[in-house]
Amino acid sequence: MAQDEAIDTTPREAAPNQTEDVGRSEGLERIHLTDPLHWEIVEFLEDESTALDDNDLTAWFQNMAPDIVYRLPVRMTRDRADGSEFAEGMFHFDEDYMTLGTKVMRLAATQSAWAEKPPSRTRRFVTNIRAYRLDGDAEEYEVRSCILLVRNRYQESDLEVLSARRTDVLRRTDAGFKIARRTILPDQATLGTQNLAVFL
């Protein structure tokens, strides 16, 4: 019989937090709640999520910059020593302007997008909004927020819930803020919803 290996009792050190894994932005200038700019950003996010609640996808899509990167990475339970729980190469949403637009057009303009026909009833609660100034030529802000998406379909009495933290990059344009980047970090490793035919 092979010699038994010894029991390894070496403690494994936690891997350093990845930027995406924490709620705060390090090293960026915070836009405080006393600054009117903070409330301008809050207003934008509230209007944007209301368009989704109202199922006005075409209006919602107007908020996207042409170079939008819209992502919801796959998550997997890991020990702290093994690094970030979020995958780098695998996503539930991995959209650019073209693919996000295609998904929106299918839901908004075709007759047979059965996943949302009849539509879900949805409510988005956007909270804990913290905005930071980004360096660069464009006037851009990093905005971290929490979102609770509540979804209900058919005669089901149970509500489906999807809770996540978001990191956005908002860019000021002549037509108001546009979302240049949105990363949605779900709190579930296994999503408890049958599909993401809804956005957040």
Binding site: M1, E5, I7, V74, M90, R106, S112, A115, T193
Partner: protein, 464 residues
């Protein structure tokens, strides 16, 4: 032996209300009872007679490339750890401590050569051997059983073109025998280069409130549903200036041991991008050079001739197997998807993991060639995420359908209704068709899915 030590494989002859299980299929009328989608007793039999007996896809080798890597997965409702040992071999271990049944692995993936149970500290190697418990001199594992008998239960493991399969059935057929004639076609979908495929990352996972057999039987060969359930695709095609004629219905459905694939007739290309590039007079290799198999670059095409014989090359060029499923709960895909710049190869594997009669977990891997350039991988990932899985515009519609079939099957009357497979081609394999298995040539019908159900009954009743 006093304890239930073996996985019992007895058939479910009589259900609780006196109905013989075999009465749930009518071989003359090509019908199965909808009770199969909702009966809790049948579900229990599936865990023991089907999932514990069959070959289950648990991982792709590229998810655990280095010794010490592991992922946690499921066989039926049993949690298993898929590990790569120091010797490079893959192990599939029941995630149940041999002491008091606690789960020894709680992360879903990572690195670790040993698993220490958090309850009493029993420690196991990543090959499943029991290494010891704390306070060694007290021998807290007792003296009744030797340490060799206190390891984590190990499943039988076999790999094929990167896919890791496991079964609890030590005496059952080999994986090769289980896959049978479908392997010839799977090679064309997934084994086109010496390097082979790798996953783009950990799989998408999400829950669907439906019986796992809804997607199980669909993937065996249901092309017909695309015309209606996925009609929005054709509407989008029309909005983009194309026509809305449904495509990809012609070809050959092939079936073996309950596995089923659809070999799509692409001799007349229906993807706009290819319409002026592929012509009737072209040889199969010429076709493949302008329209490479999904995920391959044109410069990789000449080497296909060294890997596959002439007959396989012709099938790959004219009737490529593109979509299908492996019995009982696996979906597999390898097809080109039009993008703004050309075509992206969507290569995907699904498993439908049972979580009770009314719920399953959808596990979805996207794959790419190991040596594909990063830009190509990103294109493939975007195309796959656009179409498949959690948010894909094809499968979001399926996910809304299966729960309603399952709900229908819960009513006292609804569960007596039938799933019907009466649109049949019957075997009509063309004389020059080089592949094996049962072959059905023409507009895809119900033959493959009927074969899936026949296999299901064979396995459930212990006849296979």
């Amino acid at each position: 032996m006093l304890l239930d030590h073996e996985i019992r494989g007895t058939a479910p002859p009589i259900l609780r209300d006196g109905t013989p299980f075999e009465d749930l299929i009518d071989y003359d009328r090509y019908e199965v009872s909808m009770r199969l989608l909702s009966d809790p007793d049948i579900y229990e039999y599936e865990l023991t007679n089907l999932f514990a007996k069959t070959w289950n896809l648990v991982a792709h080798e590229s998810e655990i490339p280095e010794p010490g890597d592991y992922v946690m997965r499921h066989i039926g409702e049993d949690s298993v750890i898929v590990t790569r040992g120091k010797d490079g071999e893959i192990n599939v271990l029941l995630n149940v401590c041999a002491h008091r049944g606690m789960q020894v692995c709680r992360a879903e993936g990572g690195k670790g050569n040993q698993f220490k149970c958090p309850y009493h500290g029993w420690t196991f190697s990543n090959t499943g051997r029991f290494l010891g418990a704390p306070i060694a001199k007290e021998e807290m594992h007792g003296t009744v059983l030797p340490k060799e008998e206190l390891g984590l239960k190990k499943a039988r493991v076999e790999t094929y073109i990167g896919m890791v399969f496991a079964t609890w059935d030590e005496q059952g057929p080999s994986l090769e025998h289980h896959l049978g004639d479908i392997r010839w076609y799977l090679d064309l979908m997934f084994d086109r280069t010496p390097e082979g495929l790798e996953v783009l990352g950990p799989p998408q996972r999400f829950m669907i409130n439906a019986n796992w057999k809804c997607p199980g039987e669909q993937h065996a060969g249901d092309g017909f549903h695309t015309l209606t359930l996925h009609h929005s695709l054709f509407e989008l095609q029309a909005m983009a200036g194309g026509d809305d004629t449904p495509t990809a219905q012609a070809g050959l459905n092939v079936s073996a041991n309950g596995h089923g694939l659809r070999c799509i007739d692409v001799r007349e290309p229906f993807i706009n991008f290819l319409k002026d590039k592929v012509h009737p007079g072209m040889t199969p290799m010429e076709r493949l050079e302008v329209s490479p198999p999904p995920g391959l670059r044109p410069e990789q095409v000449p080497a296909l001739a060294e890997r596959f014989d002439e007959a396989q090359i012709r099938v790959l060029a004219e009737f490529p197997p593109q979509v299908g499923g492996l019995f009982p709960n696996i979906g597999c895909f390898s097809f080109p998807f039009p993008t703004a710049d050309g075509l992206a190869g969507v290569i995907a594997l699904h498993t439908f993991i049972p979580k009770g009669p009314y719920r399953f977990e959808f596990v979805n891997w996207f794959l790419t060639e190991k040596n594909a350039p990063e830009e190509m991988k990103a294109e493939q990932r975007r195309a796959a995420t656009l179409t498949f899985g959690t948010s894909g515009f094809i499968e979001t519609d399926d996910a809304d359908t299966w729960p309603q079939m399952t709900r229908s099957a819960r009513g006292a009357v609804g569960r007596q209704m039938k799933l019907r497979y009466q649109a049949l081609i019957g075997e009509n394999k063309p004389d020059d068709w080089p592949g094996g298995g049962h072959v059905y040539d023409g507009f895809g019908k119900d033959d493959n899915q009927w074969n899936w159900w026949k296999r299901y009954f064979e396995v459930m009743t212990g006849r296979a």
